[in-house]
Symmetry: C2
Subunit: 121 residues, 2 copies
Amino acid sequence: MSEYEQMLRKFQKELNAGTVSLVLLAILDRTAEPLYGYQIAKRIEEGWQVGTPVKQGTLYPVLRSMEENGLLTSSVEPSVAGPPRKYYTITDAGRGVLGEWKSHWTRTRDFVDATLEGNVG
Amino acid sequence: MSEYEQMLRKFQKELNAGTVSLVLLAILDRTAEPLYGYQIAKRIEEGWQVGTPVKQGTLYPVLRSMEENGLLTSSVEPSVAGPPRKYYTITDAGRGVLGEWKSHWTRTRDFVDATLEGNVG
């Protein structure tokens, strides 16, 4: 891998670290029913269409940490085939946090876009 | 600081880690003359208007690492008052990297926005 590919990877990784939590909360906020990790990963993958940079394995620790912090609750249900599944639901606290993060996202996005369009700097 | 404030800080920090490098390159790409760290910080601050989450101190290591990776070059010039200043210029390699990062930014931004609008998940 070239130096520039490595830097692109690092850039993607940093950008994703911030956006994955936001995307997870937004997906769980919109859904009518609780979702398990793989379902959420699938929705992200479909949303990205080609080559999502979010690996499934990176979602699980984020989901766990959000549950520990009270943004999500979970219930474990048996599945027809395979191990039991952990279904996640967003809490009221999670909705509150989502609202705050959304407004920070909007400001950051508008600032980055303004800079790229040459209106800053 | 409450638990949710801590999480907002963490979210901001992660989101900034990805966007600061992009913003730095974009500002240096647009400017006609080389800029030193404080000038870049000022432009970012003005662009954000109120309460930028990007601290000046966080810019310097990013600038240094970009120079080490060949995205920027620098020259040290004496200043009328105070210590000499390090002026940064974007390189051709830096412009190439900026182009790639821009397209990754655009895809990520559109995906996050689509999710927040309820078109994903």
